[in-house]
């Protein structure tokens, strides 16, 4: 079973790679909108999630509450994994 902390670490690492930033500068509670992600970079992150966890989130009804922070997206990923 995947725990939220591991997913958070994974998301921070991938977001840092996509945004060309230091991994340490991205915290699990970082608000998503402040990270500088837009449609294209966000889709890149969703693709990383699909490759790692085999879940496709693009048309899964992600809303603003899921993207409040890295942590909330991690929780959503874990929820989706529990439903598989």
């Amino acid at each position: 079973m995947c725990d939220v902390n591991n997913v958070e670490k994974f998301l921070c690492r991938e977001a840092a790679l996509i945004l060309n930033r230091d991994e340490q500068s991205i915290k699990p509670d970082s608000p998503f909108l402040d990270l500088g992600l837009e449609s294209m970079s966000f889709v890149e992150l969703l693709i990383c999630i699909e490759k790692e966890y085999n879940i496709k989130l693009i048309n899964s009804g992600l809303d603003t509450s899921d993207l409040a922070s890295i942590s909330s997206l991690a929780q959503r990923v874990v929820q989706e994994l529990e439903h598989i």
């Binding site: 060309n20 837009e38 449609s39 890149e44 969703l46 992600l62 899921d66």
Partner: protein, 430 residues
Amino acid sequence: MKGRYYLNGIDWVVQALHWSCRGAQNGNYQFIVAVELSAIPDADKLKQCLRRALELFPPLRGGLKRNLLNLAPYWKPFKFVATALKFTCMRADTPEDVQSQLEKLLNTETAAREPLVSSLLLERPDGTSVFACKFDHRIFDAGGGERFMTVLQKCWNQEYMEPDKLMSSSGPWLNEWKHQFECGRTVNRVMRSLYAQGVPSVLYPGQAATGVNRYRLVHISEDDFVRLNADSERIAGAMMLMPYIQTLIQRSLRRVLKERGVENAFCLCPLSVDLRKAGDNGLFFNHWSLMPMYSHESATAEFAQEVEAQKELFYEYMKNRFPYCLTKANLLTRIVPLPLFAWFSRKPFRGTAGTAMTALLNREEFKSNELFGCEVENLYHIPGIPARPGVGVFINRRGNTLNLCLSWLDGALSEREAELLSECLSYKAL
């Protein structure tokens, strides 16, 4: 430039488009970045600062060469001639004057050995002005054009600049052949699947186009942008502005096609995307690629379903790394002589190049609120459109507003159709 800059795959596609535009239109393959200023900057100082930029950056005067040994194309700067600067300062009393002068600038061909940037300052009677810079696509993409404003601002402030940090050199890309062929295979698969969709509906009527570029600017205000964003989050989901806007554009285009009597329109809109990574300093040459977004009239009655389909398409292209593969695959085409490649590149999509070019520059490359000591009131792009497809919609973000520029070749759209499209795209009518 320390080393040579060898053209990448998209630079080569742009060279082909330049070749096509030069033959068929009043101008090169070029675009304008226009900045509305709260005051009128000192024209003499502005001229000096443009001259300094030309001295600092040799690629601004240059041309295409081929390496004699490996035939890879590269960019060779010419020797600098101090008198060659193109800068015009004039009055523009009405918004129509501004539009007509900007159209004139866009339709002026850059002569051989002239600098590939030229500028215009339009002074308005209310003490405001519009500064416009015309860029040749061979050495500038939209993001680079905006970044060049920062360079001019630094020249204005007489700040020290390290040109080498802004001018990248690149090798001839004569390795990783297997990878390039694999990318070519991905591109071929996508092209084949597009062919299976049918013939794209076009707005361009062939011989009717005169080769003169026209444009119309639609400004989406802060209030309308808030509404658009809220609708986008509600219907498309968070951070899905790009597919949402793409859907709106395609629906607007299909409405015009329907008015022309085109039934079951197949709308194919190549979407240009910026491949620059955050922190990438690239000023010159092309850092973008394309995604062929499309929709069918018949299959998409519901707006929400259509948005979902666009999101899915967007996602699949990104997952297959199509934009990246397109740039890599085009490295293989650089061996083809330019006239032949220009002819060959008209063949995909059954010679139409689709219904309209689309672009969304979501990241502001020039964020400053000040330029030449004046407050920046707005900044927008006016693209020149190649004869195929003859129509384009370019969107750029400025703070919490959007500028949407509908650009077309004279004759490709009637005045009424341009009006209808502008109205649809303004978001007020939707």
